[in-house]
Symmetry: C2
Subunit: 371 residues, 2 copies
């Protein structure tokens, strides 16, 4: 099964690039943002709506699905695509990040991680082999190596030990992975230390994998530190493979990531803020609960062409969100995802036409961001 990545064009003036990644469930245009469907559903969205807003690939979380409803059940249902009625590409993470951030961590050893479920306190053990076993049961197109995402801040020694173990775990993931209809991506760690990022990249790229991720960013560090790492980290990964920056998803982060050579992004940010009533507009983020929108019978974003902006007003959506009505969450989520995916589409177009920096400048100016 082929997971070919075709690098189609570099933009003349930055490291931004457009490409195409083939998967068994379809091709993905990069750079791309992947909506997050933690529990086998992108919160509030139907698969048809995800298609409508041109989601080409979604992400789902191994940790959550392993705990509930269980990967065996999903395998019995015919895999995650079948289970959730989504016939396009899916990426699953390894569960590592959630084990460290959500679970009540008991112990990390060379063998794996023992933790207690955040749901019921039950005890679990996940090793690289187990993570791959789960991800093979789920059957996503792209699966991730089991890694440790070191916390921020972390001492150099801790990060070094952790990344080296992550490399050893990667080797075990590769050995355990037997499905040729899934692409296994390796994950670079190394925290905020340039030499450790280099060490990690050098180690994981020894394995000829179909793609690589940059992990350990957007974990609480100041934005400047993240950008500092992003200035060099993508270059440490092969040019002919897709590069995936994990857990990142504000408009600013996406532009800055793309400009530095990143191809794939995911984040709960657009959907999570939507459920709190915060929505993207061409002129910056607004909080729809604000009283000033009470009698505002204009669209969320005057320049947006989505279903929500074509049919509903700020005043109505404010009413729905204030009253905790499900349709309110649906509309803000739909709009926010549309906004980001549309922005990515325009970014790809701009790269193709050698005007990425102009588009970025124009977007930032309107949105109220500083370059």
């Amino acid at each position: 099964m082929s997971f070919e990545y075709k690098l189609k064009k570099n933009c003349c003036d930055t490291k931004a690039r457009v490409g195409e990644l083939s998967t068994p469930h379809g091709k993905i245009d990069t750079p791309i943002f992947m909506p997050v469907g933690t529990k086998a559903t992108v919160k509030s969205m139907s698969p048809e709506e995800l298609e409508e807003i041109k989601s080409q690939i979604i992400l789902s979380n191994t940790y959550h699905l392993y705990l509930r409803p269980g990967h065996e059940l999903i395998e019995e249902a015919g895999g995650l695509h079948e289970f959730m009625n989504w016939e396009h590409p899916i990426l699953t993470d390894s569960g590592g990040f959630q084990v460290f951030s959500l679970g009540d961590l008991n112990e990390i050893t060379e063998k794996g991680v023992t933790f207690q479920s955040h749901l019921d306190g039950s005890k679990h053990f996940i090793s690289p082999e187990k993570s791959i076993e789960i991800q093979m049961s789920l059957g996503a197109d792209i699966i991730m190596a089991f890694d440790e995402c070191a916390p921020y801040p972390a001492k150099r020694d801790y990060v070094k030990n952790s990344l080296e173990r992550t490399t050893r775990w990667l080797e075990r993931c590769i050995a355990a992975h037997t499905r040729d209809d899934q692409a296994l991506f390796g994950i670079m760690q190394g925290g905020m230390y340039r030499d450790l990022r280099e060490e990690s990249a050098q180690q994981i790229t020894q394995f000829d994998l179909p793609g690589y991720a940059i992990g350990g960013l957007s974990v609480g560090e100041p934005k400047e530190e993240m950008l500092e790492v992003l200035d060099y980290a993508p270059d440490l990964l092969p040019e002919d493979k897709p590069r995936y920056l994990m857990g990142v998803g504000t408009p600013f982060d996406l532009f800055e990531g793309v400009m530095r050579g990143v191809d794939m992004f995911d984040c709960v940010f657009p959907t999570r803020i939507a459920r709190n009533g915060a929505v993207f507009t061409s002129h910056g983020r607004i909080t729809i609960r604000n009283a000033k929108f009470k009698k505002d019978f204009t669209p969320l974003d005057h320049e947006c062409d989505c279903y929500v902006c074509n049919n509903y007003t700020r005043g109505y959506i404010r009413h729905l969100i204030k009253r905790n009505e499900i349709l309110g969450l649906r509309l803000t989520t739909y709009h926010n995802l549309y906004f980001l995916l549309d922005m990515m589409e325009k970014i790809r177009q701009a790269i193709k036409e050698d005007r990425f920096l102009e588009y970025r400048a124009q977007f930032y100016k309107k949105y109220g961001l500083e370059e």
Copy 2:
């Protein structure tokens, strides 16, 4: 503006009848079930989905909209249709039922009702004139007279006084109502007392209104008592006007109501139970949370042709409902409304073909109901 009701056909063997009611926003085939959109949204459903399942008319609640976001705001938005993006017929209730059931009631006088909001304890006064004023602002196609729905059980004297006041209030509603693009329906009360039902019907039908409702049923009385009243109540209303049985909506109630000459129904029942994971099937109601559906990868209802049954399994929907995922509520709600509306469509068809009783017998047998 015409609100013509055309009685098209009586079924040979019962009082069941099909008809057509014209409103400024379109025609309604009767008998019909009206999904309830309490706060200007049928919980979890988009207007397009309501169209998809062939909702011809929806109901919205005056009491809730008066409190929040306020009828003036909705009027400013261009009325309820415009506000909620629903271009088909709407019926609003008078607020009376909620004032009595939800509000902290302070006083009923001849003038009107003083109550405290169930939301913030603020004090309000609603009179027949005020209810009509609010409903004129909302701009529904069909509006309801302000009545008192007497509690169950209630003493004869109480019910008699109450229904007579309701008649006097009706007269004031008629005087206050000035929009000719709205049909004002009167409401029969009288509790479980046949002679009081007769008195009420006789009084309200003195006014030539475009439709009449049967109020004060499904308020806690045993099913047999409700059916007893339904055996004669619809006949007390004019044959050439639509008859609306308020707040009733189980499959059994709909069949029994139709059989006794009722044309319109509304109830939160199908949508409320959906959010608890209870769904209608051809073979009776099931609770999707039940462990036995965990690995059931078949549709909610094998005989249903709706979007949900064509695309999702019981196992997946159970997972979503158990995890409180919004898509779960969407799918169960969609299916339940489809099921009821489809049943009503089949009832209309059966009446047209003089086989209503056969269809009822067939439905009851499969569903597990006794005739």
